[in-house]
């Protein structure tokens, strides 16, 4: 990133303002189209219940944050949305995960097809050990989106606000990019196959503050075209980027711990007047 410190401060102020505005407008317009509907979702790993009794709706073109203490099943929840948990031994899901009113865990649904529409960005930037261009072009080429591939790559990189920084070195290894650039490359890679939803699993946890600011700014820009769900351990980040926030916590019963959804509301409500004491305690930093 080439942002100098004063600009950065201004940038942050602006994005903080944006949060307020964005949060308000989301509430005002009340983006009502439901992308995901979770009905009584329980996730087990073997015998152990990881997350239980989840009911929530995720709305179109809204940034939804999932926050909560470690081990409360935030990432598990996120990964059920694109069936990335399938490969984990002992994974079992009951209840319904409806994506545009279709249950994605039905027997005749191909998880590959699900992931094709629902992009994901991981904790640690994970560019492939290929050139910058190939990182983006690889998936579209395989998926048969070969027409105007160069234009597609450029659009994806522009979409991820990375084009100007890398346009002169597309042939170079992606591993030479900085952490923040790598993470935006991973977002670009996801955008290149034109997903409907973008899932972000603590996308900034391995990034420095400046790179974090660049990714958060990008999320704001992507809000127009994509539905985004972000897991974050950083409450300030949720407050900055999310329109709606879900607070997960740990439920200890008979010595076994499982994640529960405590409260789910607009980010403003969660952070200023939470309805549940546990949320209030967490937000105030009294535990977790």
């Amino acid at each position: 990133m080439s942002l100098s410190p004063p600009e950065k401060t201004a940038e942050q102020e602006r994005s903080l303002l944006n949060v307020e505005v964005a949060g308000e407008s989301a509430v005002a317009t009340g983006s009502t189209e439901v992308v995901y509907e979770l009905r009584g979702v329980d996730v087990h790993y073997g015998q152990a219940l990881a997350v239980g009794g989840i009911n929530m709706r995720i709305h179109k073109n809204v940034i939804t944050a999932i926050i909560g203490p470690s081990g409360c099943g935030k990432s598990t929840m996120l990964r059920t949305l694109n069936r990335m948990n399938d490969a984990i031994p002992g994974f079992r899901l009951s209840g319904e995960v409806l994506y545009h009113d279709r249950s994605i865990y039905e027997r005749n649904i191909d998880p590959v097809e699900v992931r094709r529409r629902i992009g994901m960005v991981f904790q640690r930037p994970n560019p492939f050990p290929k050139s910058i261009y190939e990182n983006i072009a690889w998936a579209p080429r395989i998926l048969g989106l070969r027409a105007d591939l160069e234009e597609r790559v450029e659009n994806a990189l522009r979409g991820a606000a990375l084009w100007d920084e890398v346009k002169d070195r597309l042939k170079q290894s992606a591993l030479g990019l900085s952490g923040g650039q790598q993470q935006r490359l991973c977002i670009a890679r996801a955008l290149a196959i034109e997903p409907d939803v973008l899932l972000l699993d603590e996308p900034c946890s391995a990034l420095d503050p400046i790179a974090t600011a660049s990714v958060e700014e990008l999320m704001h820009e992507l809000r127009r075209d994509y539905t985004q769900v972000i897991v974050t351990h950083n409450m300030q980040q949720a407050a900055r980027v999310a329109d709606r926030t879900a607070f997960f916590s740990l439920n200890v019963e008979n010595g076994s711990r499982s994640g529960v959804l405590v409260e789910y509301d607009t980010t403003k409500t969660i952070f200023t007047s939470p309805g549940d004491q546990r949320t209030a305690d967490y937000i105030a930093g009294r535990f977790g």
Partner: protein
């Protein structure tokens, strides 16, 4: 210093633990001695091979490499009596090794992909050690199995099929009635190098970060697309190194090859005919040599083999080094 040390604990006394310094010195001497002994053995070995072959080198020179006569007869009237050339053997060594790799590399990579990426828990835990156990089968036993089971099987099924389908290519001639030959030797070698290639590639594929595999799957890739684009693509150099490791094993194998190659003395186009390799010829004839020149020629064969192995080994090291450099960048 926040800790108040006593005089004895802060003074640098020359006598620490009894014999501590002596022990360290001994350790250095012993270990460096062991390392130097390796080099000494190698030097002596090369010297012995060169010395042993000097008679043959002065008699035949480099022509030894491309002359195919190998005639230990001493009777005065015979044509080319006591004349030696290694062309047949070099050809046999290269061809059997190539056959071995053509079979073992795809198979070994496939096994490794299964074990490292696809197999779940218990299946992998059973098959993995079994594959490595294959490497523990003594080559003489594999050779016996080659004579009794493999040769008749190849003669009656695989060789006729290849001859029928691809007979217009000279290398797939009519099957040898004994079932022995270059092709059979290549298949036996393939079985021998398979576990090496599979084990090395498996370890290699296990080092491909889960992050990358997840990244590919999250893009809507199938498992095969993920394997091809991420696992195999990022392991290309390592697969190359594993291949050369297998090659060096195949080049030098003597006993099993002797048992199944049929000891031919000419270069034939068909893979199904008898042939011989450098290592195999040395094993066959060293005990019963009839002249000093024959012994020297066998040493010359050993020298050629040594050089071939050396080149393979250097190539493997070169590839691995390049590979590690790329890895270093990745981490």
């Amino acid at each position: 210093m926040s800790i108040q040390g006593t005089a004895s604990s802060t003074s640098l006394s020359p006598t620490g633990r009894a014999g501590g310094r002596f022990g360290d010195r001994l350790l250095t001497v012993l270990t460096s001695g062991a390392a130097l002994a390796t080099i000494a053995v190698l030097v002596l070995l090369v010297e012995q091979v060169v010395n042993g072959s000097s008679l043959s080198i002065s008699a035949f020179g480099l022509g030894f490499l491309w002359h195919s006569t190998w005639n230990p007869t001493l009777s005065a009237g015979a044509v080319n009596a006591n004349v030696y050339g290694a062309a047949v053997l070099i050809y046999g060594t290269v061809v059997t090794s190539v056959i071995a790799l053509v079979i073992a590399v795809p198979l070994g990579v496939a096994i490794a992909v299964y074990l490292a990426v696809l197999a779940h828990g218990r299946v992998g835990a059973v098959i993995g050690p079994l594959v490595e156990l294959l490497a523990a089968v003594p080559s003489v036993i594999l050779g016996l199995w080659g004579i009794i089971v493999l040769a008749p099987f190849l003669r009656t099924t695989i060789e006729p099929a290849l001859h029928a389908a691809l007979g217009w290519i000279p290398i797939f001639g009519a099957p040898n009635p004994t079932g022995l030959g270059v092709f059979t030797a290549g298949v036996v070698l393939a079985i021998m190098v398979l576990p090496i290639i599979a084990a090395v590639c498996r370890d290699l594929f296990l080092t491909v970060p889960q992050d990358l595999k997840d990244g590919a799957l999250a893009l809507g890739m199938t498992r095969w697309e993920m394997i091809r684009g991420v696992v195999l693509d990022s392991s290309r150099a390592g697969i190359g190194a594993a291949t050369i490791l297998g090659l060096s094993r195949a080049l030098g194998e003597a006993i099993a090859v002797t048992q199944v190659i049929g000891t031919g003395s000419t270069i034939t186009a068909s893979l199904f005919q008898n042939g011989d390799t450098l290592a195999s010829r040395i094993a066959e004839q060293f005990i019963g040599t009839v002249s000093r020149l024959q012994t020297a020629s066998l040493f010359y064969c050993a020298l050629v083999l040594l050089v071939m192995e050396l080149i393979a080994n250097l190539a493997a090291q070169l590839i691995t080094r390049r590979f590690q450099k790329r890895r270093g960048l990745a981490l």
